[in-house]
Symmetry: C2
Subunit: 669 residues, 2 copies
């Protein structure tokens, strides 16, 4: 990146940064070589120029947006195909380009082909028999067919057992009959389903010999391969405009007695024999695997969105000047206001916290799936509980972080040219998809309540909940320690305390005659809160311990900054949760005073490195796509350039003046 024409305020920030930004970039990427690979990949993809738009897509109509998204997606995957042929890298490149920052640079509003790679192919790999894989996967990889994955229905989302679509086996023809018995049975939401995919994996209630065997996957052809016309009995279309992701081509799909061959049921696990006999799967728990995988990946996505938003807001805050607290002095950079540092620096710390937690969860995921393959299911519930609450908390925190960054940019953050509204659209969507957050928190709560009861029964606990037994071992509260370790212990005590209260409140309600389910429901606001508290304790602990491992490998200057960020994150959350700490630990008013001062001092210490820290996220301008956040800080020039690209500005007088406004002003309308 060249320093020519960089805004002088921003240059001054970079000049005073105390650590080596490249060192941190490499650390985040996972090494110098990884950074080089990433940059090479970015160069290759961006050099194609697919991301350059004649008219910025936000000015287009909904239909035009879709057409542009198809064009860009095809061109992007052409490049990826080429990259794959060149270095034979397999799925890895797909992942990097699709899920990562790079894909969203080109298809910032979502891609109609994403589900083909993220759900269609992986489901074939995970659920199709070997014969079926031979038949389908090659065609899917070569993009002779384009698929998607249809599970959610108009009337049913998170509760999968409630799905209504039926697949009834007809032994006389050896076919399944797919049918949507009601309007609410229509598939609704799948990306690429509306006008892009010609094949689809459909989750449906399997009926054979008059019996229902629950949800199973079927592969269904939707459209003619030549003409793309919907096949007979297939009722298909798009679901309409959304808050964001309008390039994803989300669709609906209804079946009117559509017949598919028996072989189109994916039969790696359960099977239906020719005569209609149902053969159960030996390992139905394995189906959880994909869902957990997606949730783990989501935590990393959230880091990318937060990093984008905080980069934009931080650079803008270094350039923007406002107000005049001291007479005869120039207006300060808004980054000099403590309230602004408060809004933004926690965002930087959150990116690091969630990044290290995502890595840690990823390792655990790999260990547990390796154990699964060896037939050991023991740690599956723990992983499930963790992936649920980390998905819920990371998406909620990320959405709040992005929105706080947007609001911290004042009115200009409301402009799409800032790229903050679209980033929020992508982030907040994740609060709902892959499991609604409250539902997920309550799933973790079930695990925590069980763990509590195990501990009460004197049983050993799995590692991530072992603190429940530890903190409850003494009768009296230990003295409060105003240190990072002390705060983390405090958060564990809070989580344990809240779980304990929930258990006792459920019992009390059962004692008044309520069923367990009703007692659970009446306590569910507290249960969700206990689950969140557990997740906070995990987040703080993991961020702290993983950073402690890293800091010995880096330069002293970087080490100092990384530890300051951990301190900031932990102290910030202590101040956010004073009520919990006051209830469940022995923290005193004097401790709180000290924490507040500690926090304010940390903001002041991190202030000189604020821009360096976001530069270290190393998000190229083409990927950031923000008039406010570009590396050169030419905020106002870029806002004006963006405005001048509006098609409305192509003519000095809009036709509506002659058609409506003038007659109206003359009283002739």
């Amino acid at each position: 990146m060249s320093n020519t024409k960089v805004n002088p305020d921003l240059q001054r920030e970079r000049d005073k940064c105390t650590f080596n930004v490249t060192e941190l970039i490499n650390l985040i990427d996972g090494g110098v070589q990884k950074t080089e690979e990433r940059k090479k990949q970015e160069d290759m993809v961006l050099s194609e120029g697919i991301h350059i738009e004649d008219v910025p897509s936000e000015y287009l109509s909904h239909k035009e947006k879709y057409e542009l998204a198809v064009k860009k997606a095809c061109l992007l995957f052409k490049v990826i195909r080429k990259m794959q042929e060149e270095d034979n890298a397999g799925m890895e490149n797909y992942r990097a380009v699709l899920g990562g920052k790079l894909g969203s640079a080109i298809l910032q509003d979502g891609s109609p082909l994403t589900l083909h790679y993220v759900m269609f192919i992986p489901t074939l790999m995970g659920q199709a028999s070997v014969e079926q894989q031979v038949h389908w996967i090659g065609r899917a990889f070569d993009l002779n067919i384009i698929g998607t994955y249809a599970q959610t229905e108009l009337g049913h989302g998170t509760f999968i057992r409630g799905l209504e679509t039926t697949a009834t086996y007809d032994p006389s023809t050896k076919e399944f009959v797919l049918h949507s018995p009601t309007l609410t049975a229509y598939k609704w939401w799948p990306g690429g389903l509306a006008h892009t995919a010609n094949y689809c994996i459909v989750m449906a209630q399997l009926y054979t010999k008059g019996q229902c065997h629950g949800i199973h996957p079927f592969i269904v052809q939707l459209r003619d391969e030549e003409t793309h016309m919907p096949l007979k009995g297939i009722k298909i279309g798009e679901i309409g405009v959304k808050l964001g992701m309008n390039g994803t081509n989300n669709g609906f799909l209804g079946f009117d007695h559509v017949r598919i061959p028996r072989e189109h049921m994916l039969m790696k696990n359960s099977k239906v024999l020719e005569d209609g006999t149902y053969v159960n799967s030996p390992s139905s728990k394995l189906a959880y695997g994909t869902m957990m995988f997606v949730r783990v990946v989501l935590v990393t996505d959230m880091c990318n969105y937060m990093a984008k938003a905080v980069t934009i807001a931080m650079r803008y805050s270094a350039v923007r000047r406002q107000s005049q607290p001291k007479p005869n002095e120039p207006e300060p950079q808004i980054l000099d206001y403590l309230t602004q540092q408060h809004k933004l620096l926690i965002g930087v710390a959150s990116v690091h916290a969630f990044r290290l937690n995502a890595d840690w969860l990823w390792n655990m995921y790999n260990n547990v799936t390796a154990e699964l393959d060896a037939g050991d299911l023991e740690r599956l519930p723990e992983l499930h509980a963790l992936s649920c609450c980390l998905k819920a908390v990371s998406t909620a925190d990320a959405a709040e972080c992005v929105e706080r960054c947007r609001l911290a940019c004042g009115g200009h953050g409301y402009m799409l040219a800032s790229n903050l509204p679209s980033t929020y659209g992508l982030t907040t969507a994740a609060c709902t998809y892959e499991g609604e957050n409250t539902v997920l928190l309550l799933q973790t709560a079930r695990y925590l309540v069980k763990a509590w009861q195990q501990a009460a029964g004197g049983n050993a606990l799995t590692p991530t909940v072992s603190y429940i037994a530890t903190v409850n071992s003494g009768r009296r509260l230990p003295p409060w320690e105003n240190t990072i370790e002390g705060i983390i212990k405090g958060f564990q005590r809070v989580a344990a305390g809240k779980i304990g209260l929930c258990v006792s409140n459920i019992e009390k309600r059962q004692n008044t005659g309520l069923s367990y389910e009703d007692a659970w429901n009446m306590t569910s606001v507290q249960l969700a809160s206990a689950s969140e508290a557990h997740c906070r304790a995990i987040l703080l602990y993991t961020y702290y311990t993983e950073t402690e491992k890293i800091v010995n490998t880096v330069s002293p200057a970087l080490r100092q900054v990384l530890l300051q960020l951990v301190d900031l994150y932990v102290v910030y959350w202590a101040l956010q949760r004073l009520g919990d700490l006051l209830r469940f630990t022995s923290i005193s008013e004097k401790d709180i005073d000290e924490l507040q001062r500690w926090y304010e001092d940390l903001l002041t210490k991190l202030r000189p490195n604020a821009v360096g820290l976001v530069d270290a996220f190393d998000i190229r301008d083409e990927i950031l796509r923000s008039a406010l956040g570009a590396y050169d800080g030419r905020v106002y020039e870029r806002l004006m350039e963006a405005a001048l690209r509006s098609p409305l500005n192509a003519e000095p007088v809009n036709s509506s003046f002659h058609k409506y406004l003038k007659p109206f002003m003359q009283g002739k309308l």
Copy 2:
């Protein structure tokens, strides 16, 4: 509203409502007659059918959206003109139709004519001399000219003194020369400025005889009245797509030495004589009036947005069924989950709380402006402090409420057909415009710090801060009372405690050698929090006392529900702010346990009236514009109907298949 074809779940909710919905509708409107008037007005405007769209506007391109907005705005104001001629009602009807729910039914994405009525005409009335009013106001009222109001610049928003546009008086020609010396001096944001208005009030730094006299208003012609072409030296256009409000036609405006006659400076207050002599205004404080007025009106707007969102989410939650907590029982309505009640019922209570606070603030505003007219400025700072924090807290709470409602609708809340995303767009915009919220909270904090110092000096305090002296009169904390009054007193103690801590922290920092300004900045995170705490105390107190006045005038059944809502609101906020209460009052763990149970019981008690309570907001389907929230609860049918209106669904195969997708799949792209 007819009950035919109403979703049976929703009908069952209405059947079990314990109070008379019409009674509450009338209470909210301000009486039976007011309800009738409102309905008549709604009928008149909606019967014109302007709100009916061939293609829903969200599918249009940005340019087409603007053209539709101009058409609709012209037709809407034609109706209003007719209404005015018929019953001679003056500005009242403009307000009702424009600011209220009705205007946004027709122009849900903002109107390019709003600023003409809300800012251009009022500024002429407030700041133009009598002669100038004679010249301009008639033309403005008759819409021979269309105006807007340009204050904010690309580089300057909330800090008005920093504006850069200059108006330099030239006595030789008796003209002002308007000029934008820099890019950041460009006016940026004014609604209707881009392609709609032909006149504009411009706020600029006044220079005469070589001296700057600060910001003054000037009326400037922007476009030729016949051709609508921009005049010489006027650089004008639109600023581009935004998160919402894309019908408002926000514009930019630069001046290249544009000359206007001396008489175009608005001279009700300050003046420039022919020879260039500047004559100062005797009452520059009066300029605050309009700003405060707008902030007061904003609080009411926020009630409308929250009422919309909570109506949509509540009705949807009565229709939507999910999960199966008890085997062999049907899936419950999601409204039966305590977590869902927790998300939504607080929204209902918030609407009532902010509505009563808005009325109370409105009365105070009228009293203070009457005192002002009589030359008494004493309560102006108090009103200013109140309007700042209430604007900040009401917009922040409303945005959070709308977003919580949207997320409570799961994936379907992400669809524009729910109308929740657009409602959020309108609500969150208010967090920034008319004063950025953090800046406003800190303005209130200045007043609170002064009040604290007055109290410390033994001086009397104005009514809304008098609690600062009261709660500090005793040395020891009084015992906690677990009642509504006790909690409200607790919140006053929290606010006073936080203000006191801020004062002492500022002093401590000054004692270490920091300037007052730097000490203030270092304490500003705490100051903003103290200001918010003050506002919470006001909100709770006013909601409680104003409701107490009302409940004696209503039926016992309604009285019970209204009091339950107050209880819910107060207990909810106590639970949200346990940390503060634990720090500054003598609340105990047992009290907290009771509060939690009290809260859960209140949710259960209010549950049967949940739908009745939102029905009482009486928002017609045409105004609600939501597939999820319509009165009949035909959620899924309406979602499908909305989807089928997408232009993408007009053709079974989109042209992009032949153009890109097929060649791509065949490897020929």
